[in-house]
Amino acid sequence: MQLSLSLLECAGLSREAPSRPGFYLLQDVSFQLKRAEVIAVVGPSGAGKSTLLRLLNRLDEPTSGIIRLEGQDTRQIAPRNLRRRIGMIMQRAYLFPGNVADNLAFGPAQRGQTLSADQIRSMLTSVGLEGYESRDTLTLSGGEAQRVAILRALANDPEVLLLDEPTSALDAAARESVENAIRPLIDARHLTCVWVTHSEDQARAVADHVLSLEAGRVRAWGSPAEVLRV
């Protein structure tokens, strides 16, 4: 068995575009992440940031390279179990039809578990959405929907949380409300995060390490002070 201090490790990760042989969306990306560390992934559009998250959540298969979670090759973990352990928040909320409580209970329900009314109430209170349990998801604003999506991912109690620019589709006020909700949740749960962002300010504020990608390759890796320009 391989001894490893890192919770999440990528080695030589590459993904070839299925429709364009020879064109790599991501090429030879490696990094390690310890428990409770936050890594910010930055880079221009098309740099491979979302591709990286999709590989980590195994929504796509890498062409080559390896991902390890607690030292175990993720290909040896059943995809459903892996996705529970590595949660993902997308750019848009993509809430399911129905009410807020049903959405929060969705992940645990896949494993035959239920969330109590108290647990749901407590989760909603933590992001300023008291009394939203029975609200139809169609009636939520963008910021409210994204906060519900974050709680929905956290309801699975993941070890790693992937955030794919969760505030990029929101207006300034909603962005602030979501960012204010995310940070305390991450801190309180000591979550290990891979946070894709366009904002260098955000990366500086949240990250222990910064991975800068360009055209699918690693441009720089290091502390925010080393990688990001002042």
Binding site: R80, N81, G87, M90, Y94, F96, G107, Q110
Partner: protein
């Protein structure tokens, strides 16, 4: 072999008038859909050759043994499956699924109707009724797969969100499957609902014209339409159970993208 009787001459003139009428309508609407104006003459020519060939074969088969109906209907099922395959281009290996679905759905319903003698076991009836059932099943299955593709493409985010939360591919696809299933059966249900009020279908008109009691013709029309519905609904149900593993990889990754 076939004499050009007065009846046949009349039929050919009728076909020409109907075919030209369709062309004139498309000529009037050429700005809306110019490509249809090019497609229609070929479709009409193909259609008339095919249906006349079937008429000639039927005329020949009417005097043959009953088992002849089996290869004829099997040929229709193969042709229908091949046509539906063109609607399922983005689905992995669709032909076996489509073939099994039509065979299992339309085939079993037709067999039940034949065994219970609801459809009389004579070639003159089993082949035309069977062809109606298979053709309508083909249309409904095409609608189902086309709508399902649309649902998956327009709800990729929701489907992948469900997968990312640890849901199975079956669970993630369920809303899309339900929407497609409901949508593809709406025309069949509307046909039954509007029977006699909005339209008097061809088989009933034909039976009355050939001297059958209008009441019996009406009841038999209901039998045919509900048989078509059962066959279509069962075929799409079978397809719905088989389609998931053709849209997702073994690791439950969505393969169909916009």
């Amino acid at each position: 072999m076939f004499k050009l009787t007065h009846e046949l001459q009349h039929g050919l003139i009728d076909c020409a008038i109907a075919g030209v009428t369709a062309l004139v309508v498309l000529l009037l609407a050429r700005r809306r859909a110019p490509e249809l104006l090019r497609e229609l003459p070929i479709a009409e020519l193909r259609g008339i050759i095919q249906i006349v060939a079937v008429g000639a074969i039927l005329a020949f088969l009417l005097h043959g043994p009953h088992w002849v109906a089996i290869p004829v209907l099997a040929g229709m099922v193969l042709a229908a499956a091949n046509i539906v395959r063109n609607r399922a281009k983005q689905i992995q290996q669709p032909f076996p699924m489509i073939l099994y679905a039509i065979l299992g759905g339309a085939g079993s319903v037709l067999l039940l109707m034949a065994v219970t003698r609801v459809i009389p076991l004579t070639i003159a009836i089993i082949i035309p009724v069977g062809s109606m059932v298979i053709a309508n099943t083909m249309n409904t299955l095409s609608l189902f797969l086309d709508r399902l593709r649309g649902e998956v493409v327009s709800h990729t985010g929701e489907i992948e969100s469900a997968l990312a939360l640890g849901a199975s591919a079956d669970t993630a696809l369920l809303p899309g499957l339900n929407a497609a299933y409901r949508a593809c059966l709406i025309p069949s249900i509307d046909n039954i609902r509007s029977l006699g009020i909005v339209w008097i279908p061809g088989i009933m008109a034909g039976m009355v014209l050939s001297g059958a009691s209008p009441l019996f013709a009406a009841l038999y029309q209901f039998v045919v339409l509900t048989t078509i519905f059962s066959a279509s609904a069962f075929t799409c149900l079978i397809a719905s159970f088989m389609v998931t593993r053709r849209l997702f990889s073994q690791n439950e990754q969505l393969l169909l993208r916009s």
